[in-house]
Assembly symmetry: C2
Homo-oligomer: 185 residues x 2
């Protein structure tokens, strides 16, 4: 990507983020993003096939790294970091609408659904390998490793998408303590 | 409601359910529902302000009762029943799209969001009273009662809305066992 393209892309993603934060996901259009970014709509569609795809890119650029489990060698600490960081993002009034809007759009738009699932599966692969290895080493509770991961983040997404309940540090710590329990050895 | 109105309402809700099941939530419109039900669009808008509100009513009429915790006097059995029944609904290829579609729409449409939260809070009140009483009686693990409820159903909604992972009886039973653990007395 040329430097000019990169600048243009960054301007568009910033415009998309600002508009979602100001107006809510449902009230943002490709027209509105183009106007805010001072580019033509064809420029938007050159890079992203839909509003959902553009806002997904904006969300990931802003905070996508928090959904990657760090690797310090201590799986329990790393999973705790994952949940705490993800709760910081989904508990943030500016960032939550980006992710919630895209996940919402995924329920009625098949390409967005496929994009969300693709990201999910790319992130999950390495996590699952590490969780399984840690279970074998007795560092994590036994049982379905996929369920362990889903229980770490499920309540957080449930609050994000349905209940509106608090997503703060106390919540993150309690979920982690409940799901990880004590090591088995 | 007159008998004729009740019949008309039932026909419309059935048409909405069928269309979501056949085409997916995103491809269904108020026009399409009116045509399938052989009524005018004004009839739809007389009862429901939006497509999301209509499909929410259709979803609740079909399977809304599963989200109410039964009361047999045994809170552990009742919470298990809740999760098993909800997993039957969200694991069903015909029913899941109704609920997922409405929760998805709630992320970009404020009135739908308010309707989903209102239903959630109406269901949650009695559940929380029973959970708190059971915790005091030592029949459930101690700790934040709201978190206990959210962990029972959070992973199920996470799989419904994001991962597409299996939502079956084994999943329901494992979640319940993990969250409820052993009684504390």
């Amino acid at each position: 990507m040329s430097e000019r393209s990169a600048r243009s892309r960054a301007t568009i993603l910033k415009a998309a983020r600002e508009l979602v934060q100001e107006r809510g996901y449902g009230a943002v259009s490709m027209d509105g993003i183009a106007a805010r970014a001072r580019v033509g709509k064809p420029t938007l569609y050159r890079w992203w096939p839909s509003k959902a795809a553009l806002i997904l890119a904006a969300a990931l650029e802003e905070a996508g790294e928090v959904f990657v489990v760090p690797d310090t060698g201590d799986i329990r600490a790393d999973l705790s970091t994952l949940v705490v960081r993800a709760c910081e993002v989904l508990g943030d009034d500016d960032l939550r609408p980006l992710f919630a809007g895209v996940v919402g759009a995924a329920q009625s738009d098949p390409p967005t659904n496929a994009a969300v699932k693709e990201i999910h599966h790319a992130l999950r692969g390495p996590n699952q390998e590490r969780i399984i290895a840690a279970q074998l080493a007795g560092e994590l509770p036994q049982g379905d490793p996929e369920l362990l991961e889903d229980m770490l983040v499920g309540a957080m997404w449930y609050r994000t998408l349905i209940t509106g309940g608090p997503i703060d540090r106390a919540f993150a710590d309690t979920v982690v303590a409940k799901v990880l329990g004590e090591p088995t050895t």
